[in-house]
Amino acid sequence: MSQPILSISNLEFSYEPDQKNVLNAISFEIQPGTITAILGPNGAGKTTLIHLLLGLRKPLSGSILLKDKSIGHYSRKELSQWIGLVPQSEYVPFEYSVLEYVLLGRAPYLGPLDLPSEADVEIARQALLQVGIEHLEKRPIPELSGGELQLVLIARALAQQPKVLLLDEPTSHLDLSNRNITLQILNQLRSTGVTVLFTTHDPEAASLVANNLVLMRQGRVMHTGTLETTFTSQKLSETYGTHIDVIQVDGLPVVRSLEKLQ
């Protein structure tokens, strides 16, 4: 196995010093060029973990190494050239065009007083092409559908040309067709060498593309490992606190949760 691109060890975090920890003893490693899904029920601490990985919040203890350097030792700008974020949702109060918006992804390579160059515009257009929405270039953001906005957010992160892409619940408010388009894009990204890490509460989304899983519940990592070893009825049931069956349909693992409702 090659050297991990991200290694997280013994991470502890709480929002207020006197409150109980939101994250407890989180440890796992991410290999370059893989897709990892952080899977778990709502409130498991997945988004908080993403924020820590971005250096937006400081852990109480533990370490996050990017390559072999702690992320605290990267400047904001350096870090943004390494790691891109696709946020869960984004409220856009002004009517940017899609291209203008995606162009913001070039910020990590520009100084505070710079304007984006023609080359930056070209990279932004490539990013639109990569997610298949080049025809939306001139559309105002508020006119987009939920699925289109999701693709725009991914395109902006791609314009950032990150080596690691973090996505926070990228499929949670998409219909099945848009979910599959999004997952397909993640697959393509892996083939270009980008390391992908996404959170989801939907086991199916994870099973469709992830190589590795990190199962989280109440701020703890329950299980980690490859899809084959981790995506099991017993481990998923433990993580979600409800009975979950994993059945094979056409060679793909599919989950079924049929506990009787009261």
Binding site: H51, L54, G55, L56, R76, K77, L79, S80, Q81, I83, G84, L85, P87, E90, Y91, P93, F94, E95, Y96, S97, L99, E100, L104, G105, A107, P108, L110, P112, L113, D114, L115, P116, V121, P140, P142, Q160
Partner: protein
């Protein structure tokens, strides 16, 4: 990308310049409306009027309009809210309170009134800022907005008390007139007081105009794009408040420019702040000069500038909202 006519530097410089030059020969001497060039060449009184009174006044009007529309545009982006106007963080109400306080207790010489107005405008901002830091809930934006509302209410109550205490025959009219805004008393000295702050502020805002887009995103996203959110936001906020505070301290409360002009600019060239900020500055300068022209030319007496900007601003705003093709944003 398609070139937009509005963005050509020639238009951006030409429009305010043209309005400026026309306004220079506009007034009520020797007769209402335009002064013939021959009078300006031959009449010594006309020259004195144009160069010692009208010129500093027009330049101040231009600074006022440019500063308020730039600050308004910046703050709307920073607070991710298109309904923000630049004085809302306790700055406008603070300036009003400071001016009234000076008129009643210190004297009504322009220097005293301006200093006191600036002092309380800055105090208003600082109060808002420190109160916002102590509020225990909500994000940074919500906390500052709430603190700004509270501080503004506090100063406006104080202003009410001062108006109640003021001598109704001498001090009260003076306070009222100041609050309505105007540039009738502006001299070269006032201009030199505001000019350095406004010029430095506008240059910083102009240079960071693309960067401003990033600050209109959520904090997490902006940080993930390499922005030092706190530092850059504090810098731009500080600059915007500084230029607002100095122009308000000289001109009084001139409403609507900072709210309306950025909207008009966005209608013309889109939401990208790299484009709309320069347009906003250019139109703001021209609009303030135009309003001031009306204020000083329309009647023999002086009409307070705040009345004209509010009236014209409201008409233009409504026209903008009602005209076909304009959608209200969510």
């Amino acid at each position: 990308m398609k070139k937009n006519l509005w963005l050509s530097p020639i238009i951006l410089i030409l429009i305010p310049l043209l309005v400026f030059l026309i306004s220079l020969v506009m007034g009520r001497y020797p007769k209402p409306l335009f002064m013939p060039i021959s009078v300006l060449i031959n009449d010594e009184l006309a020259q004195r009027l144009v160069f010692s009174l009208r010129l500093p006044r027009l330049l101040s009007a231009m600074c006022l309009g440019m500063a308020l529309s730039a600050a308004g545009g910046v703050m709307q982006m920073l607070f991710r809210n298109p309904l923000i106007e630049p004085g809302f963080l306790g700055v406008t109400q603070g300036a009003g309170f400071g001016a009234a306080l000076s008129i009643i207790f210190l004297g009504s010489s322009p220097l005293l009134v301006e200093t006191s107005a600036t002092f309380f405008a800055v105090a208003g901002l600082l109060f808002s800022y420190f109160i916002a830091r102590r509020i225990r809930f909500g994000g940074w934006v919500l906390r500052l907005i709430l603190a700004g509302i509270a501080v503004s209410a506090f100063f406006s109550a104080g202003l009410g008390v001062l108006k109640y205490l003021a001598d109704p025959t001498s001090q009260l009219p003076e306070i009222t007139f100041w609050l309505l805004g105007g540039l009738w008393s502006v001299t070269w000295r006032d201009l030199f007081y505001i000019l350095p702050v406004v010029v430095i502020g506008l240059v910083i805002i102009y240079l960071m105009r693309w960067r401003l887009n990033l600050l209109s995103l959520g904090d997490e996203t902006a940080a993930s794009l390499g922005v030092s959110v706190k530092t850059e936001r504090t810098l731009l906020l500080g600059v915007s408040v500084a230029i607002t505070a100095v122009v308000v301290s000289v001109a009084g409360i001139v409403g609507w420019i900072g709210l309306i002009i950025p909207h008009i600019a966005r209608r013309l060239v889109g939401a990208n702040s790299a484009n709309f900020i320069p347009v906003s500055i250019a139109i703001g300068g021209a609009f303030a000069i135009l309003c001031d022209d009306i204020a000083r030319t329309l009647s023999a007496g002086e009409i307070p500038l705040g009345i004209i900007t509010s009236l014209l601003g409201a008409i233009i705003f409504l026209a903008l909202m009602i005209s076909p093709g304009v959608r209200l944003k969510q």
